[in-house]
């Protein structure tokens, strides 16, 4: 593509994004909630057979994670069998004692599982982390495709690119399929948002719009007589399924944080008595904790009796003395992450860090070893990307969104994030990463 045409197209893409209003608020940038996330026009492509294998691996993982959640809030077989240390589960910050003994409808805790993957070889994928709570970014997957189709219709005519646009319908079906047992009619689904100041508000309103469901805030809901209701201009309407985009701690001030203004007082009682479904279920976070992550292959073997299709990145637990020793000796080669961190904050990329940074982490890890894990820096795959100098390779990762309800579904695609800085491995949009359209070619 000639340079002029390219910049023309890039401007067109940006104009389209602004027009649609997709923006991403970056924390800590002083209240400019209308920043655009950089969009790269070069798509990332998967062949049908590559995708088929990935899909099997992702679904397998999603099943195992949900089996694990039902188990650890129930009989705890996996702990009794000595396959996962009980301390890591029951003393985990994300473990909610408030939901012990609850089996949510269809035995699903995590209804939207976002699995972050990187590729290191032709047939070699590693899972970086699992997101069992409320993974975000799916609106970018949909909008990236929309923009590519508007700008390059010919590419879609010439190639057999599997569509992703039925994701909202699929999500709605998934949510409706886990309606509580007290629901006796067509389930009413709502999305619960913290409000328009939240950085992902655009996504919340986008999904509500595409699914045709109400976007509610905590104050729009109330509890009465064992049910949850929403305030409408025609009087109260019963709500059956809540796709919540707020954290566990804020769901119900009577059960979790008493100072939460975002949640609904009494909601957990309704949930416990089967009057409403909450997606993802409170407590799901314990499965995507970075310390639990190490044991996901073990879960797959334990619950499903299968060999894991997708690999974990080898991980050192700083809580273990021998691992800690190795990590401290090899800091300049490793990626160190906080167990509960996200968004690419509070991490050390050893090979890119200067001495002061390494010394700082050395000290931090010694102070709170249990708070850190370490992983090797992988030879991440790159993808052609438009940069100032032309086309150059940049590191990418992939987040597909697996929907778990009565069935397990996955749209052929996901969110490809790209590290726009040369050599950088950090793809988080909050750290200057960009996004690409992800193509799965049909057979």
């Amino acid at each position: 593509m000639p340079r002029e045409l390219r910049s023309l197209k890039q401007n067109e893409a940006e104009a389209l994004f602004r027009r649609i209003g997709i923006t991403f608020a970056v924390y800590g940038e002083g209240g400019s909630p209308d920043r655009l996330i950089p969009f790269d026009m070069f798509p990332r492509v998967f062949q049908a057979d590559e995708w088929a294998r990935l899909e099997r691996g992702i679904k397998q993982r999603a099943r195992a994670l949900n089996a694990f959640l039902v188990d650890v809030y129930g009989r705890g077989e996996i702990v009794k069998a000595g396959r996962i240390p009980g301390r890591l589960v029951y003393q985990n910050e994300a473990y909610e004692t408030a939901v012990c003994g609850i089996v949510p409808p269809k035995g699903v805790y995590s209804h939207i599982v976002g699995i972050d993957l990187v590729r290191t070889g032709p047939d070699e994928f590693f899972v970086l982390e699992d997101n069992c709570r409320t993974p975000s970014g799916v609106s970018y997957m949909l909008e990236n495709r929309e923009i590519m189709m508007r700008m390059f219709p010919a590419l879609f005519q010439e190639n057999r690119i599997a569509p992703v646009e039925n994701y909202p319908a699929m999500l709605r079906r998934t949510l409706a399929s886990v309606a509580p047992h007290k629901c006796d009619s067509d389930p009413r689904v709502v999305i619960l948002t913290p409000g328009h100041f939240n950085s992902a508000y655009y996504e919340h309103s986008f999904l509500a719009d595409m699914m045709g469901v109400e976007l509610v805030e905590g104050s729009d809901l109330f509890v009465e007589g064992d049910y949850c209701w929403m305030r409408t201009t025609e009087g109260p309407k019963r709500v059956d399924v809540i796709y919540r985009r707020i954290d566990d701690a804020f769901i119900d001030p009577l059960c979790f944080r008493p100072d939460s203004m975002l949640g609904v007082p009494g909601l957990m009682n309704v949930y416990r008595s089967g009057g409403v479904s909450i997606c993802s279920a409170p407590g799901a976070g314990v499965a995507d904790d970075k310390a639990i992550y190490t044991f996901v292959p073990e879960m797959i073997r334990f619950y499903l009796g299968e060999a894991p299709i997708l690999n974990n990145v080898p991980t050192w637990q700083c809580a273990k003395p021998e691992d800690l020793k190795y990590v401290l000796e090899h800091l300049s080669e490793l990626v160190v992450k906080e167990v509960h961190g996200s968004g690419g904050y509070g991490m050390l990329v050893g090979p890119k860090a200067d001495k002061a940074m390494i010394a700082l982490f050395d000290q931090k890890i010694r102070e709170k070893p249990w708070n850190y894990i370490a992983q090797p820096t992988l030879a991440l795959s790159t993808c052609p990307t438009f940069v100032d100098e032309g086309i150059a390779p940049r590191h990418v990762d992939l987040r597909p969104y697996c929907l778990v309800g009565e069935d397990i579904n996955l749209v052929p695609g996901g969110l490809t994030r790209v590290a726009l800085t040369e050599g950088s491995l950090v793809v988080n949009s909050s750290q200057g990463g960009g996004v690409k359209d992800t193509w799965v070619l049909a057979e």
């Binding site: 209003g21 976007l215 729009d220 201009t233 109260p236």
Partner: protein, 317 residues
Amino acid sequence: MLSRTAENLYWMARYIERAETNARLLEVGARNALIPNIGGGYRNEWESILHASGNANGFAEKYSDIVQRNIETFMFFDRDNANSVLSCIERARENGRIVRTALTTQVWDAINIAYQEVQEFGRQERSSLSLSDLTDWTLRTTALIRGAGLNTQMRNDGWDFTNIGFHLERADSTARMLDVKYFTLLPQISYVGSGLDNYQWRTLLRAMSSSRAFNWAYGGEISPAKIVDFLVLNRACPRSLISSVESANEHLDRLARAYGKSGPAQTRARALVGELHEMQVQDVFDEGLHEFLTRFMGQVMAVGGAAQTMYLSGDIR
């Protein structure tokens, strides 16, 4: 629809209309100030504008002199004044942003652009902005937002809530502007019918974009009775009290039909329309213009309050 969504639409509309009212009031003030103050009326033309906008106390707390420059600042730019044009546009946009999915792209674009432009005014050198530029801009902008809605919005319950907001605010606004006359003329009733009086009435008509319409409807001679008839009781005048209340009533009726349920908001609105239909202009003067307007604003507020309770608070069972 969600009560909160309806509430956001209702207030978005009210703030847009209120921004327009402020611009119109500023225009009245600027024109009135062009003629000499010959001892009569309220202490100062501008003060009457402040009183009519309902913000005299807020102004007094912050500014010492009642002069055009301060009034302009207060009524157009001041964020501390919740009813300044800037505040109104910001709040309209904030309400619109929360219910972005209930608005068409055209309506949202119009509101968003208004917001960006008014921010730009705030950054410009004040001497480069004349009052007429500011008021013209406001009238143009609010017309654009309303027109975009008229052309593109679905005629569903959201549309009704938006329009109830517009028309209740407009009823209030016209009443307030008429009330300016009370403040400027009292206590010197001898000015009624004098050249000065006519000039002020004419200014009022201009500010309501109704000067020519009045000529067509009533012929050239201005009299207080004709003007009160025009702005209160004439159903052909789009800003008259009766037109505004009729429109609000119409949308409340649409809601009642759609929801299969009528309530205090409909009852009150219908009663108010009925009363205005029966009224003669002499009745207004018998009651006293100011007294009538005060009572009318109270009734409009009661309709708004009833709609709030019935639909927007979400507490009905």
